[in-house]
Assembly symmetry: C2
Homo-oligomer: 272 residues x 2
Amino acid sequence: MNKSELIHQIKSIGSFLCVGLDSDINKIPKHLLQEENPILAFNKQIIDATKNYCVAYKINTAFYEAMGYSGWKTMEETLAYIPKNKLTIADAKRGDIGNTSNMYAKAFFETIPFDAITLAPYMGKDSLSPFFEYQNKWGIILALTSNPGSADFEQQTVNHQKLFEHVIETFSQVGTSENTMFVVGATKPEELGKIRKMVPDYFFLVPGVGAQGGSLSDVCNYGLNNEIGLLINASRSIIYASSSDDFAEKAAIESAAMANEMKEILKVKGII
Amino acid sequence: MNKSELIHQIKSIGSFLCVGLDSDINKIPKHLLQEENPILAFNKQIIDATKNYCVAYKINTAFYEAMGYSGWKTMEETLAYIPKNKLTIADAKRGDIGNTSNMYAKAFFETIPFDAITLAPYMGKDSLSPFFEYQNKWGIILALTSNPGSADFEQQTVNHQKLFEHVIETFSQVGTSENTMFVVGATKPEELGKIRKMVPDYFFLVPGVGAQGGSLSDVCNYGLNNEIGLLINASRSIIYASSSDDFAEKAAIESAAMANEMKEILKVKGII
């Protein structure tokens, strides 16, 4: 999915919500454990319940890898079930020397055909460049994350700027706003405003609204641009909104509430 | 495998070689393509041919993920075939918020029971701490890598030290030399010497000898300590030493040559 298609999808439903499928066998409703593949059954019901309210799904690879190769198969089956008009993100945080990143790009853009993958920047430009050789695919680079450990390295000063700013500056010279996004946590909205000034045209994937405590309106105030420029992810607050038989219904209610709030904001800003 | 067992294994065969199983369907000998599982057949023959000359095997997850879930299964089957007296490393370069890193630790320490995993430090201390809660398991943290892109961030100055030095200092206060190693590339042996002074007791996993051009004797001069403290990885130079029927024999010759050079160095230094 390219940038203009993504913007079109967002405007058509008035939502820039991304639903994170961090599906954990220990957290899904107990009645699903009798299914042949409980995680796949859970994901399908979550997707059916939320697809009218979101433009993207993010599959957190860790939760599938924890189940071994059968989990990897469930990830493939989940991806295949997601409607084609949704942006699909492998939240995999990969990155390695070029020879190896070529194989990761093949894994997540060809073998398992996601639209986008999250990437870890530590090893530098050449470690991520293989991901930017694909048409209509996205590399989403970790910049400023929502966890306390973002203070350890990301927020340290390098050459008169923060490391996360140096990462953004570096990769905005490698990729373009047509194939590159940045991860910017919702828990630091003022920093989001500064980053928006650095890279006005880029989309940001924003975790941390919901379970981690970030505010949707703060994120929009600081981060929206006139092509939206935001994908706001929520995982646990939607998929585990209820642990009972009504989990899908409650997931629909939670995602609809976020989508409605987004639509109001887009209307107020005159974007839709 | 704990540190004293690793040192015992190294001393018993006089080798601190790690063989990297970066097994690629497009590079293995053509006659193996008739096997039911060509990559598994290749790996088994490489392991049989090299096991007398190495103390560790490193499985590069990217090469298996590129094959989808069947590749993930091949990774599990390969791990099961490695002799129990070898250190097994998932070269996976994972790292995420704690909730997610818990799942990666479960994936690579429990579901697929590797001894060690490589980790990306960008997201800070709390992103890797779940990996250090396991007994007799190792987190191997990226510090100074062997690729050109190491100049982009790793070698930038943060608070009067290089970022990779800050990473090492930070994580040497989190883990211990009993559960933490650092990745230090062979292509910068003088930096290796400085790092050895910073963390005298830690093991380093050293890529870049062989295909990437690093020198074994330089690495040993700068990096050895009196408990060895080095695992030197070679992948392509061993597993693709020949592309014909004699690939396993040639892999044995290549790994034996490296192991012999290592044994001589350990003797000269009086370590064995």
